[in-house]
Symmetry: C2
Subunit: 283 residues, 2 copies
Amino acid sequence: MRRLDASLCSVNTATLGFRAPLEDTVEAVARAGFGAIAPWRREIEGRDVARLARHIRAAGLSVSGYCRSADIPAATAADFAAGLETNRRAIEAAAELGATAFILVVGGLPGDSRDLAAARAQVREGIAILAEQARACGVRLALEPLHPMYAADRACLNTLAQALDLCAALEPAPAGPPVLGVAVDVYHVWWDPLLAEGIARAGAERRLLAFHVCDWRRPTRDMLNDRAMMGDGVIDIRAIRSQVEAAGFGGFVETEIFSVLDWWRRPPEEVLATCRQRLETVV
Amino acid sequence: MRRLDASLCSVNTATLGFRAPLEDTVEAVARAGFGAIAPWRREIEGRDVARLARHIRAAGLSVSGYCRSADIPAATAADFAAGLETNRRAIEAAAELGATAFILVVGGLPGDSRDLAAARAQVREGIAILAEQARACGVRLALEPLHPMYAADRACLNTLAQALDLCAALEPAPAGPPVLGVAVDVYHVWWDPLLAEGIARAGAERRLLAFHVCDWRRPTRDMLNDRAMMGDGVIDIRAIRSQVEAAGFGGFVETEIFSVLDWWRRPPEEVLATCRQRLETVV
């Protein structure tokens, strides 16, 4: 297991609540000593991506991931095509940013559908299409299983086993490093009785593309925006990092905290300093 | 698949928000035409159980389940023993009530523990002990996997596969009907990519002891008390009932709705009439 210091860690910009332009966030993250950043589409789309990529590199930061896909399941063929088009453009941006992976948060039940199997079939179909383009662009796609409490509205991909099965079905025997992999976020998977097996399998199949940390607050007051700072919740984060690294993960440990109720109200410098201190002591 | 009418259905008393004494609830449920009821320990403990059991029978109701166990994982040996003692008394009450099963909601992480594996080991140890007593009392135990969002504070048993694996480990080859089985609540399991396999396996192993319905509201405003009335959410309840019945379940379809924000504010008669109407049309 690695001895973590900030240079091995990344900050997902969501952690700072999107309160400043990306350039300012890049400066703050670099100043705090981190080795990487993970920006979001909302900070990139419609802007000069090449220029932003240069800015990030000039600050000495890598891009641990690019967040995140538009929803894949859709109620109409036109919406399905529009989602794919957004994702195609995002894959191009991920290439330009040099991101380790483009993060796929696949979407939940479209419209008023109750058909989870159909949504999952659309996800499979969409990712098959995007994988071709990603391969051509030299971008890897990290399928992120989301906590089952988001199955309806954010992602119908809900366990690591399900994500790995999908990767294996779409890309059964990659010659080189696979294009399809997974993002393991402790918030989404910590409860899973099959977590250790899933992580070992992901490593053996060379699909561990991202590792995200935060903590699970007890009680959780809001289903989306009440993630805790590492150490303030109930997840044994170090045990999970140990499994992930034993499985071969050597990438950045990325902090991603959605916290309208707490951390998004604090000064960015305080948030970053606390992340760094916790990464070095409890993660 | 059965044609559902109220005589095949049960009302879990939680659905009415525990606003009246059990006797009144029994009358109301019977008056509304239901075939069964599922009471809670809070309505039974410290009272004359034999008398309550007679009251329920006199109203023409069966008892589809008795809710629910005290937490099994505990921070101290004394707390562990106390939990088991509460559950032992509850199993005796379940026998007296003639309940189809005593429902095990096993508990989450005890105290300030972050050790989910240890909590799960305590659950296994506790259920092994309770199974002996249940067998002696002629009571069946229904392990209820709870939604993963409750892993920290309510139940570290979170998938049907996990519950069935535990049943199989503790009672590998029962001669007669197994003492250990599962409760399938659509709210907790609807998202599970392995749900259909789990239901089929539960049926094949004769462990389908309870089937609970409500719906998943989108958005869900409260993690505990915002369950929806059947038909008002995103779960394809009929598809799941079809799987459960194809797997051999012939028991009562039990409505269990925690809804501080909505149904618990309405008159019991309205709630019961709505349950009945929805059970007969969308479940």
